[in-house]
Symmetry: C2
Subunit: 399 residues, 2 copies
């Protein structure tokens, strides 16, 4: 008989991500793509990476090419712990796990904390990659109400949180909305979670990309024993290295290490040592301002184009950092339909619906402003504005 | 209340690997360790890696540091496909998925092919890392009878295989036993699996490390549509890069790609490009003979020491390749007890029991011969021989 490949239930439930399929279309060079979550390659510190690589291959080639500990390269773990520590909230390096990109942290988290049917709380909307990673372990999602300032803590009480395996959120310049949670809401959320005994999972790939003003304290710094924190070098150095980290209380850390051992033994020793070498002498603090300044400029350019080209019925936020603007179209419009028409005119973005754990809102979309040159931002937003105006004109009149 | 971290059932079932705990002990430089599965760093082509890295960072720095496709770097996928293709059994590059080490292939396989309670067949004994990866998805293991030549196909019929999600085996220089499956058994296994409609998973990290004689055909080459093949650059280049690959029929490949997207988005672009660059111009075929020659010499040294130092009641195999020798002690001895005494005398190895999916045999152990210098092989085996003789002398006399 022919070979029978019987797929697992979780594999049958897997569907390819909308972002992924769109990225395939937008690989054509003539497409102006606001779809990808790719950092601008102009921000990659190529020379610094070259120097760091040479040094690692000169000084420790055999260690860099050999198997290493599952927890990660010790000096890099210490660097992460020192960077995240705050007065009164020291983070020991023993809580740091180096991961193969932040995405792996999400997979490991799902593995060690989610059983079939477990209650998992997320923002409305939330990061698609997290929803995908968690979904493989069949949780029951609860979506918390959110507005332009993130989770609406006033609308919550501890009972609403109670019994959840964890509450996952991105307080800084969230993917997909670009929104940031203000201090008062952070404090309220940490207090509510502590009252309910529910762990918070703070995903923070964009925290360093603030365009101005004060950095807000992390949830981790407010309650180190109640928060699992996830960070990444993808947005501040380069994503092609696939380096992230998870900080977790000892008990969870130990289980994540075991799960990681089965997942990929360890993250490449080679790239861990290179990144640690590149980070020495405060390099990041010297480098990040150039990323912030570029992205702030790109963001202003897109906001100006939106003001100029988009019909008044569309609404969007003014991000204070990060890589994304979130657009809400009038009710009744479907951004998936808009995308099909936009792609015909060589413009792309990501429809908002896949970012909702439950009750997707089809009239939303995400725009990334970091990789597209200024003139193309203008031209692309103009096309979207025209298409949108036509869509709105075709809506049935409301009595 | 204090935060409640409720672990998933699979996390509660996770236990730290015996190998891992032993490796911690054996990090002390005075320990002669036959425990690790680490390749010898003397075989790492440092100069070639340096040249390849320089070229990648000179010619394509931004692409190497940017996000890449989940399937892997296309030229590397093509290289793998070409290397595995045989006359009459061409492997299309579209079936190749680059993974973050071969271990990740095992995790993805578990994710897409195992439901709770699924029947999964393995050899007796089998690779511990595979048992760990699959266990996270709660299969029901079946262990197939095996001898010094691998799975005893004469003892099987299609009914015994029937209904399994897959049969996992390492035909070449298996970890932990070092044994190789002869051609006739390979043919019989492929025929039986085809008759039962059961997919074969062929894990082949050591296939290139044959010390002499002909390479035997892969199971993949015998039935490309019925075999999932896993390979690695860890043993022929360097493990610290964490680069492996899985070749699978389209339907399984597509699901593994989706699962990988949720697991780590993609394997580092940086290391994929470096390895592809290093492999050009037939480098591997020039490089591998030096690894074979070193390992063959190390193996002979350990075999000679075993002949000299071990009591006649112990038995072991003579590997034709790979990195391991498998030792069977007299019934009634526990290699875990022997290990505790050996570590006191600064010698380490891996007890065999954790390599059994079911019915562990405590009187077995694995010796790795590749990283320890010759004189230390002699000294370490002498210590083990003495301890073993004492253990045997203490066994209750059989009437």
């Amino acid at each position: 008989m022919s070979t029978q490949f019987v797929l697992s239930g979780r594999a049958r439930a897997l569907t390819s991500s909308a972002i992924r399929e769109i990225l395939k279309i937008t690989e054509r060079p003539e497409v102006v793509s606001f779809a990808g979550g790719l950092p601008s390659p102009a921000t990659f510190p190529v020379e610094r990476m070259r120097e760091a690589t040479e040094k690692v291959l000169r000084e420790a080639p055999h260690a860099a090419l050999q198997y290493g500990p599952t927890e990660g390269f010790a000096p890099l773990r210490e660097w992460v712990a020192a960077r995240l520590s705050r007065p009164g909230a020291a983070i020991p390096a023993s809580r740091v796990l180096i991961t193969t990109g932040s995405q792996q942290g999400l997979d490991l988290l799902g593995k060690v904390l989610i059983d079939e049917g477990s209650k998992v709380l997320v923002e409305t909307p939330s990061y698609l990659g997290a929803l995908q990673a968690f979904s493989l372990f069949s949780p029951r999602f609860g979506a918390l109400p959110a507005d332009a300032q993130g989770i609406v803590t006033d609308a919550l009480d501890a009972a609403r949180l109670s019994g959840a395996r964890f509450l996952y959120c991105l307080p800084n310049f969230q993917n997909p909305t670009g929104r940031r949670m203000p201090l008062a809401r952070r404090e309220a959320l940490v207090a509510l979670a502590a009252e309910a005994g529910v762990p918070l999972v703070e995903d923070d790939p964009y925290g360093e990309l603030s365009y101005g003003g004060e950095a807000l304290p992390s949830l981790l710094s407010m309650n180190p024993d109640g928060v699992i924190y996830m960070g990444s070098f993808s947005k501040v150095l380069a994503p092609g290295l696939r380096l992230g980290y998870v900080v977790a209380p000892e008990q969870v850390h130990a289980k994540m290490v075991q799960a990681k051992q089965a997942a990929d033994l360890h993250t490449p020793s080679f790239s861990q040592r290179i990144v640690h070498e590149a980070l020495r002498d405060g390099f990041l603090d010297a480098h990040i301002p150039s990323i912030r300044s570029l992205y702030a400029q790109q963001c202003e350019r897109m906001l100006a184009a939106l003001e100029r080209e988009f019909p008044p019925q569309a609404r969007w936020n003014r991000p204070e950092g990060g890589m994304f603007i979130w657009v809400e179209l009038p009710e009744g419009l479907d951004s998936g339909v808009l995308l099909a028409k936009a792609v015909e005119r060589n413009v792309a973005f990501v429809p908002g619906a896949p970012f909702y754990a439950i009750e997707p809102r089809a009239n939303t979309l995400r725009l990334s402003f970091v990789t597209v040159p200024g003139e193309k931002i203008d031209a692309g937003i103009k096309v979207l504005g025209e298409l949108l105006a036509a869509e709105i004109a075709a809506l049935p009149a409301v009595a």
